[in-house]
């Protein structure tokens, strides 16, 4: 099976500072891959480089096509969604308008299923339906995260990049978010590349994990294997051997 996303030798950075030094990574159809690593390991930059919002060089093939020199907007239209870290919502627009933006951004072939998909979103996140006339800026952090995810889903991407969905969320909401992710993959026939600091939670939903440190891949293995490797987690994920996550932010 050839992967949906195949990345080889990806480098990227800001200004003169290089952050990624030759990343190799692959995501298969219907697969969830967790990108793990401490703060500053390059997770966010990797996602940005893939969605074309940060300049990069190296080979990126998505659905068999090279993304070299493709603009961010075009990459997104090609079926690669990106839920950025923190506030990705349009705060001046209402919740409903945010949702509609996702719908109008989907490929023409899926227009027919739009109404059903919106209904599915509102069933998954009932609070969004309740708040649909409110400006998105009035939502709580967790609700905004749901909205950003919903909007990206409604654009019907084949691969969704999700950056730190648990950041700033209360532990309970965060657990919700991860369980939802596992469901979404099946319901929306998605592949997911998930960047997370919370290794334990993300490895529970992921098929495979890739560990980044200082802009390089230091480990890549099935999720269960990584979850069992305490030494690795201690070395690169800022976790003490007893399994407690250090609070780094």
């Amino acid at each position: 099976m050839s992967g949906l996303l195949e990345v080889t030798g990806l480098t990227a950075g800001y200004g003169g500072v290089r952050v990624l030094h030759g990343i190799d990574i692959a995501v298969g159809e219907n697969e969830i891959v967790a990108v793990l690593g401490a703060n500053g390991a390059g997770k966010t930059t990797l996602l940005r480089a893939l969605s074309g919002t940060v300049r990069s060089s190296g080979e990126v093939a998505f659905a068999g096509r090279s993304l070299a020199g493709t603009s961010a907007a075009r990459i997104a239209r090609g079926g690669l969604g990106h839920v950025p870290q923190g506030r990705g919502t349009f705060t001046d627009l209402t919740v409903e308008e945010n949702v509609r933006l996702g719908v109008i951004s989907r490929p023409a072939s899926t227009r027919g299923q739009a109404d059903g998909d919106v209904e599915r979103i509102y069933e998954t996140f009932p609070v969004l339906r309740e708040m649909r006339r409110r400006p998105a800026g009035a939502l709580s952090g967790g609700q905004q995260q749901m909205l950003a995810l919903s909007r990206a889903l409604l654009a019907r991407p084949r691969l969704l990049l999700i950056d730190e969905p648990s950041l700033g969320l209360a532990p309970l909401t965060s657990a919700d978010m991860f369980s939802v992710l596992a469901r979404l993959r099946d319901e929306w026939s998605l592949s997911v590349l998930l960047a997370e600091q919370n290794a334990r939670a993300s490895l529970k939903v992921a098929d495979r994990g890739v560990v980044l440190a200082r802009g390089r891949v230091v480990a890549s293995a099935p999720a269960a294997e990584l979850a069992a490797d305490e030494g690795l987690r201690a070395a690169y994920l800022g976790e003490s051997p007893d399994g407690l996550t250090e609070v780094s932010s």
């Binding site: 074309g52 603009s71 961010a72």
Partner: protein, 360 residues
């Protein structure tokens, strides 16, 4: 140009640069003043300027004097745009305010010209401070907004308050009050030119010292990163307001001397278009180089003459205006440091530039 229209990514990508431009002059500043080529160039220029009046006709001198008065105003604008990072679309009005203040004091109250010029400087500075007060409470485009409004209503106010300003006819004197003191064998034009050379030199030195001293460093921090400046304890708004006040006062100085040399002020001279022309001079010359003020002033004073000679005077003004606009756009696209800034960099490159290992 072709590279920057490449795609929608420009917005995020272009947000980061800007700092390398600021780093370049710092190297030169490591050397002692007398060892910098810039110092020598300015000194040579100053010496030449002292000789020029005895070589060219009084008419040419009169034009050159006008360049110098405008250059003073443009230097004030350089301080604001190039250093404080704010824009004024109304410096023509402040220049005009200086001219009218000086003319009224000389003509109606019989003041001596030096005192009248001083008063004009104070009045323009105070006016600038007053305009800046509401506009500079928050950073943004408010100063541009308010100053273009000033530029638009200033000539109307001049025409309306006939009692003081002479209405649309303006104010005229039989001759310029700026004459050589007795015993000095100079024509008025020669004296005026020399006076303006000295005044401009003093203004440029003062502005330069202002921007390289402790205040200047605060201003530079302000321009590069207002948020950082604020966190380092710089009172951003007050500092910007001070800069705009000084900039306005300098524009008033240029206007006062310009008006008195010409011995005439009319509202039409200080229209919104004059204000925008000054803006053009500042940017085209190079808002971050003091030599730019001279280049820009020469550009806007001599261009209408050149164009009138070739096209005729009926549409000369409009062609000049079009050229200012095009020059302004081309400068913004291709030469963001302006003509003087670009030339300076070219010279630096040709002479190998200030060496990094200089012993300063």
């Amino acid at each position: 140009m072709a590279t920057s229209i490449s795609g929608p990514a420009t917005r995020t990508v272009a947000a980061t640069p800007g700092s390398p431009r600021a780093a370049a002059p710092a190297l030169d500043e490591l050397r002692p003043l007398w060892r910098r080529p810039v110092t020598w160039a300015w000194t040579a220029l100053f010496v030449v300027a002292l000789v020029v009046p005895f070589l060219i006709s009084d008419y040419d001198l009169f034009k050159a004097t006008r360049v110098l008065t405008v250059a003073i105003a443009v230097a004030g604008l350089n301080l604001l745009i190039g250093r404080a990072g704010q824009i004024s679309a109304g410096h023509g009005a402040l220049y005009g305010l200086g001219a009218y203040t000086a003319m009224i004091l000389v003509k109606e109250l019989g003041w001596g010209w030096p005192l009248a010029v001083l008063a004009a400087v104070i009045v323009s500075g105070a006016a600038g401070w007053l305009i800046g007060l509401p506009a500079l409470r928050v950073r943004g485009l408010n100063l541009g907004l308010l100053t273009i409004a000033i530029a638009a209503i200033f000539p109307l106010l001049l025409s309306r308050f006939e009692g003081i300003t002479g209405g649309t006819i303006g104010l005229q004197l039989a001759g310029s009050p700026i004459t050589p003191p007795g015993g000095l064998a100079l024509t008025p034009e020669q004296f005026q030119f020399l006076l303006l050379v000295v005044v401009l030199a003093v203004v440029l030195v003062l502005l330069r010292n202002l921007t390289t001293g402790p205040l200047g460093r605060a201003v530079e921090a302000l321009r590069v990163n207002p948020l950082m400046a604020r966190s380092e304890g710089v009172d951003v708004n007050r500092l910007t307001l001070t800069m705009f006040g000084i900039s306005s006062a300098v524009a008033g100085l240029g206007g006062a001397l310009g008006g008195l040399v010409l011995a005439s002020t009319v509202p039409d001279s200080y229209s919104m278009f004059f204000s925008l022309t000054l803006l053009s001079a500042c940017v085209v010359g190079g808002s971050r180089t003091w030599a730019g003020s001279l280049v820009g002033a020469a550009f806007i004073v001599y261009l209408p003459d050149v164009i009138s000679q070739h096209i005729g005077s009926t549409t000369g003004g409009q062609w000049s205006q079009l050229v200012y606009a095009v020059a302004l756009l081309l400068t913004l696209f291709f030469l963001p440091a302006g003509v003087a800034g670009g030339a300076g960099r070219l010279v630096t490159r040709l002479t190998g530039g200030p060496r990094r290992r200089s012993k300063a």
